[in-house]
């Protein structure tokens, strides 16, 4: 009996965990990626000296995030600015009502911050991590009171802003709880934290998503004021035609 238990323990320690990375990410995606969504957000950027900049935007997505549209409605300086992302953020178009020009943005600009926030275009992309990252499961840890799977992701090729990310996925709910982003020198650059996780229908969402820029000492808070999932969205919205209307 004791021999059987010992063999069992040995086997599980050698073979690893009973769940795979793919299974974790599939469940996480199923929990968080509706077919379509519309989210009204307030973005608060807290600079290193404590000053706060506030903007409001609406995010639309379709095809489980493959297509997305961001539209800024406040402040007046950027009102009417639109960003269209297709092919999981591989193709980005930017429209400014001041110049009436639609510009295709090269992917290097995904490194740039959106509206001076601590989020970059790359951070906002809903792309499946497995396409661009090699991901390993490195055990379980407790984060913010939840037992989480710890996934370490390293980019497959150059071009990403980050040398690696560490993702903690809640073991019971299968939603991200915290993400750490590392720069080229493997220093902790940004931390993404969530607050107020809640289930809306069959999907999980958050009241707030906070990105801390550890190097700068700033943070950006995205408040999800209103979230609607699996709604009817006019697919024409994800087109150049809609950008310039």
């Amino acid at each position: 009996m004791l021999t059987r238990i010992s063999v069992f323990i040995l086997l599980t320690s050698v073979c690893g965990y009973s769940i795979t990375v793919d299974e974790i990410l599939d469940k996480t995606e199923a929990n968080q990626t509706p077919q379509t969504s519309r989210v009204e957000m307030t973005q608060r950027v807290y600079e290193s000296d404590g000053r706060e900049n506030v903007s409001r935007l609406i995010s639309y997505s379709s095809d489980k995030g493959e297509k997305s549209l961001l539209e800024y409605i406040e402040p007046a300086r950027i009102k009417g600015m639109k960003i269209l992302m297709l092919n999981d953020g591989d193709d980005i178009w930017f429209y400014s009502p001041r110049t009436a020009r639609i510009r295709k943005i090269a992917s290097h600009q995904k490194n740039q911050s959106i509206n001076n926030s601590d989020f970059s275009y790359e951070d906002m992309s809903a792309k499946d991590m497995r396409e661009d990252y090699n991901i390993k499961l490195e055990g379980e840890e407790e984060k913010n009171g939840s037992v989480c799977y710890k996934l370490v992701a390293v980019p497959k090729k150059s071009g990403s802003s980050y040398s690696k990310t560490i993702n903690w996925i809640d073991k019971e709910k299968f939603i991200p709880v915290e993400v750490h982003y590392f720069d080229e020198e493997n220093s902790l650059w940004k931390k993404l934290c969530v607050e107020g996780a809640r289930q809306i229908g069959k999907y999980w969402s958050y009241e707030k998503v906070v990105m801390h820029n550890v190097l700068k000492g700033s943070k950006t808070v995205m408040e999800m004021n209103k979230t609607e999932n699996d709604i009817d969205l006019d697919q024409e919205m994800f087109s150049e035609r809609y950008l310039s209307r």
Binding site: K104, I105, S161
Partner: protein, 424 residues
Amino acid sequence: MKSLPALLLSAFSFSALSLTTDLGKLQFGGYLENKATVNISPNEIISDVAQTRIEGYWDFGKYGGIESHVILTAPLQPLDPFETLREGSVTDVLFKQLLSPYMEALGEFQSSAELLPVSETTINRLIKYLPYSTFYPSDKVILDRALVKAYFKYFDLFIGRQMIAWGTGYAFNPTDVWNSKSPLDPDAPKVGVTALRLEIPLGSLSRISIVASPGRNIDNSSGGIRYKTHIAGFDFSFSGIRLMNADRQILGLPAKMIYGADLAGQIGEVGVWAEVALNNPIYSGMEYTDFDSCYLQADIGVDYTFTNGLYAMAEYYFNQSGKKKATDYITVDLINVLVGDMSGLARHYLFAGLRYAAVDRFTFSAFTLSNLVDHSVMLIPSVEYSLSDNISLELGAQIGVGDKEKSEYGGVTPNIYLKTTGYF
């Protein structure tokens, strides 16, 4: 039964600058901008211009809308444009050659004033300093946009004064002939064009645009068609335009046909764009267009953002109708620049620069516009500070470097400016 006030309140809901009705949403916005400039010349001229842009939108949602923008410009401290050019510089000489017929006519007018008991000195002083005279910038109110937008199932229609932006170039747009653009300020809003524009979508990223911009008669009218699509990660466009208007007629310029193409995408991690336009002036009295006078304009640009956020770009411009030597600059070249047919006097230009948000609220930029023929350069450094979400301050300069007499930019007096912009 609800009372009338209750009914009105239920039909309307409003916030500070918008009003929602059962017919749609009415919104107002815009900005106020003040630009104070010091021209560093022996006379050290200070000028100040204030501009307010008021934008009104009546949005009918999926059916269309109405848009109107009014620009009020007040030169609080007017500037004689000639004060920005060094005496004897090539641009100063070309301007004087261009205006000499008018100055001579003015001289004839002045000579008639000898009948009056007023000295020539007094007359000159009046012309030089009289506020709001025709020689100085004056208060202006311009209806910059006034259009109706109508959205249908298979096409959208835009009728009225509107902004039309074709081409992928940043500082130079050979295919965008609807408005002239200054490479010294590529992000400035362009003046509206009175036109009827039809947009026919052919997919999410493809469409046909048809523009008709009427003049006082058919001969003085412009029209164009453009096909845009997306292939293999690149945006491509092809266009054909007939350009003619009252300004060209007054200046003695012919109508012309323009055949253009442009693309935008990326190679590796580097953004790339290119634009080419074949210009074919149509000379009156000929039964066929004179292909010998065709000339090519093209630009190609690249940009890249480093992981630390530093943005770098460069754009080369070729203009076959520009001059290969500085000594060949003539008045017609200046006319072509003023009307927007060319972006400069010479054949080769390079616009390049860097932009970096080094610290919170500060964005530093350093751009250059180089005339590769006469080797003169305009240095355009600036720093922008965000005072708040809607208020920004920009301190910048335009410094011409090059031969003071023989080069395009060396003859421009350097200036420093402070621009304050408040959005509402």
